[in-house]
Symmetry: C2
Amino acid sequence: MNDKPKNLPNAQPNGEPLKPLTDVVLERRATAEFLPDEVPEEFLEAILKLGAQAPSGYNLQPWRFVVVREEENRKRLQAVAFNQPKVGQAPVVIIAVGMTREWKERADEVFREGAERGAGSLDTWEKYRDGAFQFLEGMQHMPTWVNRHTMIAYTVMMLAAEAYGFDTAPMEGFDAAAVKREFNVPEEGEVVALLAIGRAKGAEKVYPGRFGLSRIVYEERFGEAWEGNDEV
Amino acid sequence: MNDKPKNLPNAQPNGEPLKPLTDVVLERRATAEFLPDEVPEEFLEAILKLGAQAPSGYNLQPWRFVVVREEENRKRLQAVAFNQPKVGQAPVVIIAVGMTREWKERADEVFREGAERGAGSLDTWEKYRDGAFQFLEGMQHMPTWVNRHTMIAYTVMMLAAEAYGFDTAPMEGFDAAAVKREFNVPEEGEVVALLAIGRAKGAEKVYPGRFGLSRIVYEERFGEAWEGNDEV
């Protein structure tokens, strides 16, 4: 495996500093239309490398990402994504895939190398791996597990793209079986979501509102009113 | 629903600026042991409010968060989370829950108010809602859908906590049925993950390595080698 990425760009392409996370989260809107402007290679790689740093259970990293940039392929993806024009328009669309079985083939490497790096013990990594297998094989629904994990890396990528000043569109509107067929995703792969990255064309979507904390947060037990500040 | 939150703290509790997202992602480690230091209310609310701004399909926000802070309850949670000491130690543990049915009760409000705010049309919101219902009712496995969405808000919270200088531990090791029972989560609720927030005690875990992009990223089609830079 690799060490932490070094030399990631620490500014936006125009030289401005990265947006602070508060601005990233508050200003992000799902982009409806994209300009054809490309995402410079250095920034796309930084976005992918940051996503790859996301945490996962036992560090198994059960996520894979297909980067679709060729126009012909974006159009093919659009056709299996309810024909949403933004899929064909955006210069980059990432297909996020969760692997329900492949993690097992990579597990020895992950556990042994983690131990070698000092994140575990060289005497006990096999026992730890066996415990992980027991936990994961007891999982009722592996597609849910890989969806959950893949969304962590996916969300990091979305926020990283926004911090670098790009616009994004997270998408779940697609025919998963058709995406798998068209993009050679193996049978065990779960197509989790699509992420378009580029530059918005025209005005961003209006903010549609969000539930206040009193409607989504509970104190101590589900159903017990959140007593904190609910002002905007 | 609410407007965007205003007046979120724009610095860490010690007055230092928020960490840039690159540092947040590269320096974050799953914290193994927590100090008892509390997370100041203003920062906990900011973390929750930022999570609440995450995107979701049709803006349905199918996530709920139980904030567990009382020691007795953290111990009860620890008991159903494979007795991991950090659950009882951390000053705040958030139980992230995805709701597989409740979104439907809130859908009229979401679609109508979105239209009123200008994110849709007042003439067509009901049609749009009906299309959403058709899409969602055709979903093969609603627990996967709510897990996916809840993880977006969850990941935003984890990164926001780190940007404000706190330490976090994302956790999936728990007995979901027991968590539901102990914390009154209704039958339709999916316990997605736990997030501990606080201050790390002692050294953070060692970085265990990550797969390089050549092992998780494909060009154009699954299986086609990523030709970009794979250096760290």
